[in-house]
């Protein structure tokens, strides 16, 4: 480039993204909620680990942990966590066909088939957990 030339610098206007941009549209709010409810997923996993730790420390420790779980404020909080978990799972499972392209006999599986397979797997996993909680094979 000719050294005498200088690049043109227009006086651009740049709009700053507001901090609460995610309140501007329902879909954005839903997205942020989906992302935030992943904290509930992490919390649920942590709670399970703590329970296993209590079990490892003996029967008394586990009974103490169960008493903690039965306290009304904890139950109320865990109902909220449960709602967040369901929201996260449902929104997450509904998005699965976007990422998963499966073929059967040369044909692409329709989105509903991918979603249904995920819900069926969820149901099956839940059934196994319930069966286990109700005493399992014993």
């Amino acid at each position: 480039m000719n050294p005498a030339y200088r690049p043109h610098h227009p006086k651009w206007h740049r709009e700053r993204m507001p901090i609460f941009w995610w309140l501007g549209r329902i879909s954005y709010t839903k997205f942020i909620t989906r992302e935030l409810t992943s904290l509930a997923v992490g919390y649920a996993a942590l709670l399970l680990l703590v329970e296993i730790g209590a079990l490892a420390r003996g029967e008394a420790a586990h009974a103490r942990f169960l008493r903690f779980l039965a306290a009304p404020p904890v139950v109320a909080f865990h109902l909220l966590v449960c709602a967040a978990l369901v929201f996260h799972s449902v929104t997450w499972l509904n998005l699965a066909p976007k990422a998963l392209v499966l073929r059967l006999g040369g044909r692409r599986l329709p989105d509903w088939a991918v979603v249904s397979a995920h819900y069926l797997a969820w149901l099956a996993a839940s059934a196994v957990v319930v069966w286990f909680l109700r005493g399992g094979a014993a």
Binding site: P10, W12, H13, S27, F31, K98, A99, G106
Partner: protein
């Protein structure tokens, strides 16, 4: 791509218009631009007098030579059953205020020039009925996420640089001689990438994407969808080369799957789907390279393509990955 810029008029008339004073139809006719003449006949004859109903259009103006921040200007235009928002803007340009600047070209949803924020949503103004937005006012802003040059005209250079960085063209290690005939493709192979090839680069998806607005480096929805368009093309062998750009944080991993890009796309391209699909493929490729470090990147791993392919093609893709990236491949961050 945006082709024509309908800018404010020049010379003495432009200086008068730059003050923001609405001018009459006579003055507008004298300064009508080439792009605007197509509708001048339709709007000029009827004018405001013939219209029984009107609708207010509030346009975000930005005139860098006279103001430091954008301001709003309100215009009353006739409300016709068959008018789009773009027709309203053309009416303003022709009959009310010739200084208004915006881009448009085809008026039929193909050129991708007239994307703007209408009532806060990115749309093609040539495909959005004014009557659907009645009783108004209709707020028209430039596409969000891009620097504004003037009024409704944004700078799209950042997108063009990023688009180029993913090499959206057919890459082959070796072209076959013309005598060997064309590259044949089955309808199923065509259907695999066709939806992604419908992109008109209108940038509505960039405007809908909060990540693009927040992260300067993000390659963005349309560029990644177009990269997938070539990755999924059976004639292409450049998937491994594109993986270099796309598998970085600023490629697919910056995407948090808001999904709005696919919602606003006027052509049904589904960039969000393309990105998520690519994430799965890139993860598979990462595991493959971890577990089988002696192997070469395969086309299927780079694209998520599980159809049959010739061994020579996979070898060629691997060879391309081993080569250093060309020097001209640096992505511009000049936003």
């Amino acid at each position: 791509m945006p082709l024509a810029v309908t800018t404010g008029s020049t010379g003495t008339a432009g200086a008068a218009g730059a003050t923001g004073t609405p001018r009459g139809p006579a003055a507008a006719a004298a300064t009508a631009t080439v792009g605007a003449t197509a509708t001048a006949g339709a709007t000029g004859t009827a004018g405001m007098a013939g219209a029984t109903e009107t609708i207010a259009i509030e346009v975000q103006r930005y005139r860098p030579e006279e103001e430091t921040a954008p301001s709003w200007q309100r215009y009353e235009v006739p409300l016709r059953r068959d008018w789009m928002v773009l027709d309203g803007l053309n009416y303003i340009k022709d009959s009310l205020d010739g200084t208004l600047s915006y881009r448009w070209a085809c008026r039929m949803g193909v050129c991708g020039s007239c994307g703007m924020m209408v009532n806060g949503k990115p749309v093609l103004t040539c495909a959005t009925y004014l009557s659907a937005l009645a009783p108004g006012p209709v707020r028209v802003e430039p596409l969000r996420g891009f620097p504004v040059i003037r009024d409704l005209v944004v700078d799209v250079r950042d997108f063009l640089d990023k688009l180029k960085s993913v090499k959206p063209w057919i890459l082959r290690s070796e072209d076959k001689p013309l005598a060997d005939g064309e590259y044949l493709q089955t309808p199923a192979e065509l259907a695999e990438y066709k939806p992604y090839s419908m992109c008109i680069n209108c940038l509505l998806c960039y405007s809908a994407c909060p990540i693009y607005a927040l992260e300067d480096g993000f390659v963005g929805p349309a560029a990644i969808a177009l990269a997938q368009r070539y990755n999924l093309d059976t004639r292409d062998e450049g998937a491994a080369e594109r993986l270099d750009v796309l598998s970085q944080h600023e490629g697919i991993w910056a995407c948090t799957f808001v999904g709005e890009c696919s919602t606003v796309c006027p052509k049904g391209v589904d960039p969000a789907g393309a990105i998520q699909r690519y994430k799965v493929a890139a993860t598979a490729e990462w595991w493959r390279s971890l577990l089988l470090p002696w192997g070469k990147a395969s086309r299927s791993a780079a694209t998520g393509d599980d159809r049959g392919r010739s061994p020579s093609r996979s070898a060629a893709a691997g060879k391309e990955q081993a080569e250093p990236r060309p020097a001209g491949d640096e992505r511009s961050r000049g936003r």
